[in-house]
């Protein structure tokens, strides 16, 4: 008898998790696009919605796509093509969040035009302080997909 995917157990739990994550991602993507199109600024607490054409426009569109990937793949996640859609949703978030983090790192190290070669400790840590873009908030939740891949291949 063919062994079943480990994801079949607790399938409903994964469904609910990715439904919530998918809706949140979709909402962030739409907000990103609205903020960019209207040219407004939106910062609340630790969250900042980028409003430039590149990060807000293209980045927002990609976050929106990630939400769609999550929502289209959440049903029957134990089926490989469904899992692939969810994984692709996470990859999209990793790309946006990864490039945001990379940009922070490259900004935090040099000293800037009128100071020394390297940034002072305060300036260095200040670069990593909030507010953050939506992708950074979505990043830890998107990593759950790695556990799903592990469970998929751990047959029951």
């Amino acid at each position: 008898m063919t062994k079943r995917s480990g994801l079949e157990k607790n399938n409903d739990l994964y469904f609910i998790y990715f439904l919530i994550l998918g809706l949140a991602t979709l909402a962030f993507g739409i907000t990103d696009l609205i903020v960019t199109i209207t040219g407004s600024e939106y910062t609340t607490g630790a969250l900042e919605i980028p409003n430039d054409g590149f990060r807000g426009g293209w980045g927002g569109l990609i976050i929106l796509f990630a939400g769609i990937f999550y929502l289209s793949g959440l049903k029957d996640l134990y089926e490989i093509h469904q899992l692939a859609k969810v994984v692709m949703g996470s990859i999209l978030i990793w790309i946006i969040a990864g490039t945001d983090i990379f940009a922070m790192i490259t900004e935090s190290i040099p000293g800037g035009e009128d100071s020394g070669w390297f940034n002072a400790a305060q300036g260095f840590w200040g670069t990593y302080a909030p507010p953050y873009a939506p992708a950074i908030f979505l990043l830890p939740f998107s990593l759950v997909v790695i556990f799903c891949i592990y469970k998929y291949y751990k047959k029951i």
């Binding site: 490989i80 093509h81 692709m88 999209l92 790309i95 490039t99 990379f102 490259t106 900004e107 891949i149």
Partner: protein
């Protein structure tokens, strides 16, 4: 003894070549990496053996320029041995070419490469049985990790010519000869039945993602994300090195040091050529405070390639190598196939197009993967006119950071509009091709680092001398008054038609040597934001740089004149149209 390394495109021949000869040639996970042959030597049992990496071909009836090279190489190499590389997961397809080569009387050794992929796909191949049937050495290999390479080399001595009739005889159940393609396929089917067993295969996550990345509905969002990541990392990385450190090194240390130690001083012609031309401040000649404006061969001439372009080119090639080795490039080709068909090209035109974003020179060479003369002519022309190289993009990032997106969009629009027009007016065929999409794979750090090193060092060898020479030439022309003279003569065209200052003549002369240098020189001319965008677009669509020019002449032959004619039309229409756009917007 001479060995020809032959096989289908994209079966790993270049990896074999590098492994066997210790050479460094570019290996990529899509066809067309090798469009000309490469020669190297392997030491075997105390003797030097010449090895030739032949461009990939599906059969001995060539369909494109690269395949023509392959077949010609074979016909000109009587007495050589052939190492035929076959994709083990598609063994039947590879056997067709192997049989054709055997028929020609060449001693052949077969490498069943990508053995690991075949195992992953649950395909069991009886290599010993295949060796028995064919009567030639057959070795299973995984070239990328080096598995089986030494066995393959040691079996070369066992390769002897065999008769196809004997193969037919050993393949029990085949009653006919193998003279026609149909008979050859029937023989292969007979052989395949005896040596290949297909086990149950379940789609893996890699396969499923691979499928989704070529379907438009899921593939296009993914492609947008990949290109977003590519561009974002390119900008952050280049900005980190250039703005963070290299500008400081050149402007605060290198230029002041040159100004202090170099004899002559401001106003001296030799000092102006090598260090600093200076600029007028209230009618007095003042020293430049940055390498963008000093124009000296040792200041701007070194700052442009080393300070601005090198980080940009490095990160571009690193990202490209990653995408190539992961296996994303062929998927991008499939995705964009429909769009490119509208302009008479096909998906693999994305290969020269993306290579051109690094450097136009190898991109012109890569047009050989296109089948017809029409397609090659179109591709060469379009990439030389509309695709700025990585060096130029790197400088644009510094000179017009806020407008670079618009410039790129304007050039892409030109690429498609003029591609569409060329497709309608240029006679010739634009055939369909079948594209092979390899599975996704983990990139090998050795391959990535070698590719990046080769491409980046290749760039430096060409760019540094040309930029230094270009700086000298433009300075000489400035000092001799030629640029002013040219500017005055061409003023009605520059100011009236293109809407840019007449001083743009200088950078346009430099653009013929290096476009990155030309864009850097534009930054020293006083003009509005919109004039600057127009001038940068002009530099892009104006004559290709001298290295691309030479390559186009070599590859295109007579059609190069056609490319030049198109180029002139494009410069006037596309350049003039942008000026018109600014006028309509009320900003010109």
């Amino acid at each position: 003894m001479k060995i020809l390394l032959m096989g289908h495109p994209n079966v790993g021949k270049s990896v074999f070549f590098n492994r066997l000869t210790g050479a460094n040639i570019i290996e990529s996970n899509y066809p067309g990496t090798t469009v000309d042959f490469t020669k190297g030597y392997m030491r075997l049992e105390g003797k030097d053996i010449e090895i030739i990496d032949v461009p990939g071909t599906f059969a001995l009836e060539p369909k494109d320029k690269a395949e023509e090279v392959a077949v010609r190489m074979l016909h000109e190499s009587k007495g050589s041995k052939v190492m035929c590389v076959i994709d083990a997961s598609k063994v039947e397809r590879g056997l067709y070419l192997a049989l054709e080569i055997i028929e020609q009387g060449f001693p052949v050794v077969i490498a069943l490469n990508m053995w690991d992929v075949a195992i992953d796909k649950n395909i069991d191949i009886d290599a010993k049985k295949l060796e028995q049937i064919l009567g030639i050495p057959v070795v299973s290999t995984v070239a990328i990790s080096g598995e089986g390479i030494s066995t393959l080399a040691s079996r070369l001595k066992d390769a002897t010519p065999v008769k196809v009739e004997d193969i037919v005889e050993r393949t029990e159940g085949i009653k006919h000869k193998a003279n026609t393609p149909d008979e050859r396929w029937a023989l292969i089917e007979g052989i395949s039945k005896k040596i290949v067993t297909f086990g149950e295969y379940q789609h893996t996550l890699k396969d499923a993602i691979g499928d989704f990345t070529v379907k438009p509905a899921t593939g296009i969002p993914f492609a947008i994300a990949v290109l977003y990541g590519f561009w974002s990392i390119f900008g952050s990385f280049a900005g980190f090195f250039t703005d963070g450190f290299l500008v400081k090194i050149f402007d605060e240390h290198w230029l002041p040091w040159l100004q202090a130690v170099f004899p002559g001083g401001l106003g001296n012609w030799f000092y102006a050529l090598v260090v600093d031309v200076g600029h007028l401040e209230n009618g007095v000649l003042a020293a430049s405070d940055n390498c963008f404006e000093s124009f000296g061969a040792l200041s701007s001439g070194l700052f442009v390639p080393m300070g601005v372009v090198l980080p940009a080119i490095f990160i571009f090639y690193l990202m490209l190598a990653l995408l190539e080795d992961i296996g994303y490039m062929p998927r991008l080709a499939v995705l964009i196939d429909t769009v490119l068909h509208k302009i008479g090209l096909h998906g693999y035109a994305i290969v020269p197009s993306i290579l051109a974003l690094g450097c136009n020179v190898p991109a012109v060479g890569a047009t050989r993967i296109l089948e017809t003369k029409k397609q090659r002519f179109m591709m060469m022309t379009l990439l030389a006119v509309f695709i700025p190289c990585g060096a130029q993009i790197g400088i644009m990032q510094d000179v017009i950071p806020g407008s670079i997106g618009f410039v790129m969009l304007y050039l892409i629009a030109g690429y498609f509009i003029f591609g569409y027009i060329l497709n309608k007016i240029v006679p010739g065929k634009t055939p369909e091709i079948l594209m092979d999409v390899p599975p996704y794979q983990r990139p090998m750090s050795r391959n990535i680092s070698r590719k990046v090193w080769m491409r980046t060092s290749g760039f430096l060898k060409v760019a540094v001398p040309l930029v230094i020479f270009g700086s000298l030439l433009v300075n000489i022309l400035y000092l001799a008054g030629t640029i002013d003279w040219l500017g005055n003569i061409l003023a009605p065209m520059f100011e009236g038609w293109f809407g840019v200052p007449r001083e743009t003549a200088g950078p346009l002369v430099a653009a013929f040597l290096r476009k990155d240098l030309a864009v850097a020189q534009l930054s020293a001319i006083e003009m509005t934001k919109y004039q600057m965008i127009s001038a940068v677009v002009l530099v892009s669509i104006y004559f290709p740089c001298i290295a691309t020019f030479a390559m186009m002449l070599r590859e295109g032959g007579k059609t190069f004149l056609g490319s030049l004619a198109v180029l002139l039309v494009v410069v006037f229409t596309w350049g003039g149209l942008l000026h018109l756009l600014w006028k309509l917007m009320g900003v010109a």
